[in-house]
Point group: C2
Chain length 530, copies 2
Amino acid sequence: MHAPLPPPSLPTPKAIRVNTRGAVILAEESPETRDSRGIYLPNYIEPVSHIAIDIGGSLAKVVYFTRSPQSSSSPSVVATQGSSPSGKSFSTSSADSPSGSPPNATCPIPCSSSQTRNGTLTPRVLESHYNGNGHSNGRDHYPPDTPDSLDTDLLHSTILKRSTEVRHIPGGSINFERFETSNISALVAFISELITRSAAANGVSIEEMRRGVKISATGGGAHRFGKLFEGELVVDVQREDEMECLIEGMKFMVTIPEEVYYFSDELIQEVTHHISRDVQNEIVSDGPATSGNATPSTSAEPVLERPSPDPPRYAVTFETSEPSAHLPCLLVNIGSGVSIIKVDADGSFERVSGTSLGGGTLWGLLSLLTPARTFDEMLALSEKGDNASVDMLVGDIYGTDYSKLGLKSTMIASSFGKVFRSRGEAKDEGERGTFRAEDISRSLLYAVSNNIGQIAYMNAEKYGLDRIYFGGFFIRGHAATVATLSYAIRFWSKGTKRALFFRHEGFLGSIGAWIKNIDVEETPISVLPS
Amino acid sequence: MHAPLPPPSLPTPKAIRVNTRGAVILAEESPETRDSRGIYLPNYIEPVSHIAIDIGGSLAKVVYFTRSPQSSSSPSVVATQGSSPSGKSFSTSSADSPSGSPPNATCPIPCSSSQTRNGTLTPRVLESHYNGNGHSNGRDHYPPDTPDSLDTDLLHSTILKRSTEVRHIPGGSINFERFETSNISALVAFISELITRSAAANGVSIEEMRRGVKISATGGGAHRFGKLFEGELVVDVQREDEMECLIEGMKFMVTIPEEVYYFSDELIQEVTHHISRDVQNEIVSDGPATSGNATPSTSAEPVLERPSPDPPRYAVTFETSEPSAHLPCLLVNIGSGVSIIKVDADGSFERVSGTSLGGGTLWGLLSLLTPARTFDEMLALSEKGDNASVDMLVGDIYGTDYSKLGLKSTMIASSFGKVFRSRGEAKDEGERGTFRAEDISRSLLYAVSNNIGQIAYMNAEKYGLDRIYFGGFFIRGHAATVATLSYAIRFWSKGTKRALFFRHEGFLGSIGAWIKNIDVEETPISVLPS
């Protein structure tokens, strides 16, 4: 069932069928689920029963829509609590363990392999079959997800907060879950449970429920795992082109308020120097650097030209442009590897470049070099590190700035450039391993992030694009990553281009696969023979 | 004595004062000195006594000119035999130990920290002082270096051979040596010995010899170590701009026959598939790949467009263009870090880009991840490796090609992308470390080389340059490195740009510093007060 890919075609501009007016991003208690907050859509009341899955090299991302009988928290939080069918437990941190990474977590990438306890699918086909039969599947019988508050605490303490209360409004929620691709059975069990629960809630048999459910699969694994889903879940699987889904997902997400954000110049510096305060270390590898001072106003260095005349100081800034203003742009999707996609003003797109140095490279090397077992543990390590102990800085070579070339002494000349020299001086094997995991983590995070930023910039320049969107699970809303990518774009473009980010950074492909099938949902679903 | 850098200025076109007619590259017995073969100049008979040193982040490269009383081998071979003043021994492999890397070598980067036993400096100032005094410093009293044969065995068995005999011709040799920057005392001892020996050969006191010797220092360390040289060696030190020296060195080296080479398309494939024959693995990370077959003529794949209509098959090809034909070009110097320099047709230049992911990154990470202690050991490991065991290939994700995007299943989607997944599946610490050092070495060599090739290509495209020269010690004439860089340029440029290499790849800066001071040599040297 490795279906041949459809022939190349430009995507047709597609009207978004989901009413996002009044959409709010739900609260999450755990940093591990900060990118998978549910999105509450108070004005979207259509029944939706398809499940979108984006299966990448490392992670499978799931998107589905529920109108939930429970209301105390968003589905994603619940989804990450409890035990998975595979026996792996994965608890989120609670209020009294705010560190974020549960010490006993065995899931190397933060993921939910548990089962959502609340929220069910509402297939249109069942609604039309059973309405008036006494089964409570009418929309007014379903209290919507009712989040207690909006939590915009995307990046710890650095961002805007507000406390809008949204209670008892009809609608439903888009839910986001992720699983390891290597543990696909957990994903299958999750969906199986969702179907079983939905069947019970809709008062129909599981077989009937299955006929009302469809899986939209995208990403590389859509081809590898499509047959598995069809066989084990007994549901129709429709495969969607990966790049089309990324673009559709991006176009949908820019309609969600407080979804797209960027770092102000001041925040980039603030984050950079807060984390690496011992060494006033620039986060770009090469070329002229801006002032290393945290307070640019007191610096003698010239102020760098900015993307906007007056960006907000010390703030995550949410993009409030009209959705149409986001195009044309460059979309850089950083998963295990990196895809770079040029998107034109009319929504047509082309994958123009990429690099194999992506999230998989960082995770893979750090899993060899540090004791960290999860990606968030690696990011936590990097926050405590000082890359100057492993990186060769300009000052290490020149003893000073190389001012003729505008290279400041604090800039990275060679990532990991100090390691070999030091190792060479060691007399025996026992002297190896003198580098701190924290420093190694930080150095590699810088190296990968900055390299992606550099290649992204060069493509944006080549195609004359000023807006560079970064998506993909690599980012994790991690301040140092966002700041490094932002700094690289700002530096190389001399402030003329802007790096933009999504709060649901890892779900662009899956939300795109979900949106693409909203249209199809309008008609009854035909069930494939299993 | 950290002299301020001179103000930025365009270099003035400089006439090369060294007669390179009939120049030949001398034989070397050891792979470790394959990039530091002496260059014999039969028609250059001027006395030259200055020593050029290019001090980078990891290595210090030395160039000097001798008219040697011995003739059995080139100075570089002798220089790598014997013991260094620091107590480190470093023997080259002999005919009966052809493996290349001596097992007991403690010098992590192949370098000569020993003392050249033959070859002396011939200061013009001494010649004018002592001519006719009975001291045998007349040119006809100095038999030149007389190599037994020319060895163009640059890349093992893959290249052209010939057996021209060059004996008993007057002239002299340019000598190349390298030292670790972290062991600068070995370099000081080497030069001190050279001065002492030259003083004896010229029949003058050491003090007088010192007044006839000058050091031209470039590279980052010229500033850090300049005062050290002046103090310990009691010689004049002149600092030269690093980028100017690189360009001058390149302009000189293109005048040396059989110095500049490139890989034919067929050789790139041959090398790639010879080394990684188990997995027909492409060496580019991204974008459409050419056929994975070692015999392109039998392949059904379309033949890739080529830089020239009919490149030689299965051969290293020496560039035979006139020196003027080399400009304009892009020069990519890969040392610990990477500098990318645009060189215009008139010789003016600008450092336009760079990356911190260079040789220092490869060496540093591999010294943490493998038991290799020297760079050549790392390269030897990589030759036996299969990166498919650690890299996530397109086929690992998609199960097949992603033909819509032209991504072949054998291409690298994520460098080290399999490691994290596998590590996540391991039950405990004991299962860590299941990756072979050979495979890790190969993956990282690919990742760094291909990334440099990609960034180099993008700069060449930006500035409309078709010739991309790679220099720097990273390359080491290593077939996989040369093939990867060549493939990346060929792939990204769709065959319109060519990657070119130097046999003395690591010495561009030092030869440039040497050449720049040939003019000054014409006039008596003024000695600085020490």
